[in-house]
Amino acid sequence: MSLIAAHDLSKTYLKGETRVEALKGLNFGVEPASFVSFVGPSGSGKTTLLNLIGCLDKPTSGILRVDDTDVSTLNTRMAAAFRGRKIGFIFQDFNLIPVLTVYENVGYPLVLVQNTPSSERKQRILALLDAVGMAELRDKYPDQISGGQKQRVAVARALVTKPKLVLADEPTANLDHKTAYMVINIMKKMKNELGTTFIFSTHDQKIVGEAEIVYTLEDGELDGR
C-alpha cells in the first residue's frame, strides 16, 4: 500500500496567454517510511510537485493520492486540516515564527493546529528538541540562533504532530555544506527512529547521495531513479 501514488499527474500554469506545463504526466509511488529526493535543475518542477503532494495546490489533470486520499477532492479548509494531521513541512528559509522561542515554535502545531493536551505536549517537544540537538537552546528566539540550528528546529516542528509524511522543498539551499549534511542526516535519523516518510527536493548533487530513493525531474518529466 503506497503512501503516495501519482497517475498521469500534470500541472499546467496559465499565465495570461502563455501556458507553462510544469509537470507532464508523472507516474510514481512512494512507500511508507522511505527517504526520497526529487532532484533537477531550476524550473524542472520540483516545487510544483511538492506543492501538489503537500495539498497546497491541485493538479490540472491526473490522480494524486496521499495516504489514500484523492487530494483533488479536498476544498481549502479540508486541505488545511489534512495538512495539519498528516503532513509536516520544512521550508528553504526555515520560516520559524519570530515572536516564539525555539520551544514554542516546536509546540506551535500542537497548540494551534492539533489541540494536543498540555501534559503530552511538553514531553513530545522536549524529546524532539533533544533528538535534533536543540534542547539547550530551547528558550532562544529564532533571530538568536544560526541557520543550521533554525532548520533543526524546523525539523522538530515538522515532526511534532507525528505526521506520516514530511515535505522539504530545498531544505539545505540556504545552508553551507557541512550544515546541510548535518540537517539531512538528522532527517534521516528521524525517519529511521519514527518511520516517517521524508520527501525533499534539491539541486545539490552531493546532498542527493544521502537519499535512499532519488527521482530526477527534467522539464516536468520524471527520469526514473
Binding site: N51, G54, L56, D57, T76, R77, A80, A81, F82, R83, G84, R85, I87, G88, F89, F91, D93, N95, I97, P98, V99, L100, E104, G107, Y108, P109, V111, L112, V113, S118, R121, K122, R157, A158
Partner: protein, 412 residues
C-alpha cells in the same frame, strides 16, 4: 505554555513604537470623551438642578389645557376641590415622591402708588414650596427668607423698575374668574433674584392672600409641582402618575389632567438635548479615531507578516484560527488603549474637581463645576473602543485567513 494572546502581545511588542503610537491615539480619544462627558454632564445636571430646584419642580400637574395657555395664567383652568383630592390621592400612592407644592398662579397689577405695572404671582404654601423647590428661598437677596401672609417677594427686575425696597407698601390688583376686580396691600418682604426660564421672574405671596385677592371661597389650585426623592426615576414616576391620573376623564371623555416633566416645561431642555447630541458626536469621533488607527495598524501587520501567515497556513492552521489571531491583536490594542485612557481620564476628572472650576449661568454666579463620571459610562466607552478595535481588525484578519499559502510563502 502559550496561546493566541501571547502571540498577539508579542507581535505588538515587536513594533513597540507603532503600537505605542496607536495605543496613545486611542488613549487620547478615550480621555477626551470621558472628560467631555463628565464636564458637559455636570454642567447639564447643574443647570437642570438650578431650574427644577429654583421654581419648576421635577414634575407638574395641571388641568388639561393649562400649559398650552400658561402665558395668560387662566383662572378658569384651575382645579376644584374634587379634582385636587384625586390628584393628591394619586401622589400619595406614588412612591419616590419627596414633596409636592400647590400653587395659585395669576396675573395682576402691581402698584407702588406712583406707577403701576403687570406682575405674575404665585400663591404658595411656604413650607410645601420650600420642600419642593429648595433653592427658591435662597434666591431672596434682600429681606427675610420666608413667605408670610401680608408680604410679597418681588422679582428683582420689577423691584428695580418700580424702585421698591424691602419694607415698602405696595398694592396688588387682580381680576378674579368672574371678572370682578379686587386689590390688597402688601409689605415687600424680600427681593427675589431672577432664575433662568419662564416662571423665573414671578413674584410670590402666601396662598391665603392669593385666595383673598381672587375671592375664592374654596382654594382653587392652578398647578401642583412635585419633587422626587431620586431624579433618576423621573420617567418611572412620571409614567406612574400619568397612568394613574389618565383614568380621570372630563365631560368630553378625555383625560381631565395633564402631567409634564420639567423637560416639557423649560426651554433649557433643548440645551440639555444639544449637550446630549454633542456627546453623541464626540463618541462618533472616538469611534472614527479608533476605527482608522486600528485598521491602519492591522493592515500593516498583515502585510508585514505575509510569509508568516503562509507558513502557519501551510502547516495546517485553520482559517478561523488565523482570523482569531489578528482579531485578538486588535482586541489587545483596543483593550490597552481603553484601560490606559480610563485611568488617565479618571485622573483628569479628579484634577478638575480639585481645581474647583467655576462658571456663571444666567444671573447665577460662581457655580462650581463638579465633573463626575459614572462607572456605566466608563464601561460603555471601553466596550465601544474594544468592539470597534475588533471590528477594525476584521477585514485585515479575514484577508490574512484567505491567503493562498503558496503565494504567501513566495512573498518577499
Amino acid at each position: 505554555m502559550f496561546d493566541l494572546f501571547k502571540i498577539a502581545v508579542r507581535n505588538l511588542m515587536r513594533y513597540k513604537r507603532r503600537t505605542l503610537l496607536t495605543v496613545s491615539l486611542v488613549t487620547v480619544g478615550v480621555v477626551s470623551v470621558l472628560v467631555f462627558i463628565s464636564v458637559s454632564g455636570s454642567f447639564k445636571n447643574m443647570m437642570i438642578g438650578q431650574i427644577t430646584d429654583s421654581f419648576l419642580g421635577h414634575i407638574q400637574i395641571h388641568k388639561k389645557g393649562y400649559v398650552a395657555s400658561i402665558d395668560s395664567l387662566p383662572l378658569t383652568l384651575n382645579l376644584g376641590p374634587n379634582a385636587l383630592q384625586k390628584i393628591e390621592k394619586a401622589i400619595k400612592q406614588t412612591p419616590d415622591i419627596e414633596a409636592y407644592a400647590k400653587r395659585i398662579k395669576f396675573g395682576g397689577m402691581f402698584s407702588n402708588f406712583v406707577e403701576t405695572t403687570n406682575v405674575r404671582l404665585n400663591g404658595v404654601y411656604p413650607e410645601d414650596e420650600a420642600g419642593t423647590v429648595p433653592l427658591l428661598l435662597s434666591r431672596v437677596r434682600e429681606g427675610e427668607r420666608t413667605i408670610r401672609t401680608g408680604e410679597i417677594l418681588v422679582p428683582e427686575l420689577l423691584a428695580k423698575g418700580m424702585k421698591v425696597k424691602v419694607g415698602d407698601t405696595v398694592v396688588v390688583i387682580a381680576t378674579n374668574r368672574d371678572g370682578s376686580v379686587n386689590g390688597k396691600q402688601f409689605r415687600v418682604g424680600g427681593i427675589l433674584e431672577s432664575a433662568t426660564g419662564p416662571g423665573g421672574r414671578d413674584g410670590y405671596i402666601h396662598i391665603d392672600d392669593a385666595a383673598e385677592i381672587l375671592r375664592m371661597d374654596t382654594i382653587q389650585i392652578s398647578e401642583i409641582a412635585i419633587r422626587l426623592k431620586n431624579f433618576d426615576k423621573l420617567q418611572e414616576v412620571f409614567d406612574r402618575l400619568k397612568g394613574e391620573l389618565s383614568k380621570e376623564l372630563n365631560k368630553q371623555g378625555k383625560p381631565a389632567f395633564e402631567v409634564h416633566t420639567w423637560e416639557k416645561l423649560s426651554p433649557f431642555y433643548n440645551i440639555a438635548r444639544m449637550i446630549d447630541v454633542m456627546t453623541f458626536f464626540v463618541k462618533l469621533m472616538l469611534i472614527a479615531i479608533v476605527l482608522i488607527s486600528i485598521m491602519n495598524v492591522m493592515v500593516m501587520a498583515v502585510y508585514e507578516r505575509v510569509r508568516e501567515i503562509g507558513t502557519i497556513a501551510a502547516i495546517g492552521t485553520l482559517p478561523g484560527k488565523i482570523v482569531a489571531m489578528f482579531l485578538i491583536e486588535g482586541f489587545s490594542l483596543g483593550l490597552f488603549g481603553a484601560v490606559v485612557g480610563d485611568i488617565l481620564g479618571i485622573a483628569v476628572i479628579s484634577v478638575l474637581n480639585v481645581a474647583k472650576v467655576s462658571f456663571n449661568f444666567g444671573r447665577q454666579k460662581g457655580l462650581l463645576l463638579s465633573p463626575g463620571i459614572n462607572p456605566q459610562d466608563i464601561l460603555l466607552i471601553s466596550i465601544i473602543v474594544i468592539t470597534i478595535s475588533v471590528l477594525a481588525s476584521l477585514q485585515p484578519a479575514y484577508k490574512a485567513s484567505r491567503m493562498n499559502p503558496i503565494d504567501a510563502l513566495r512573498h518577499v
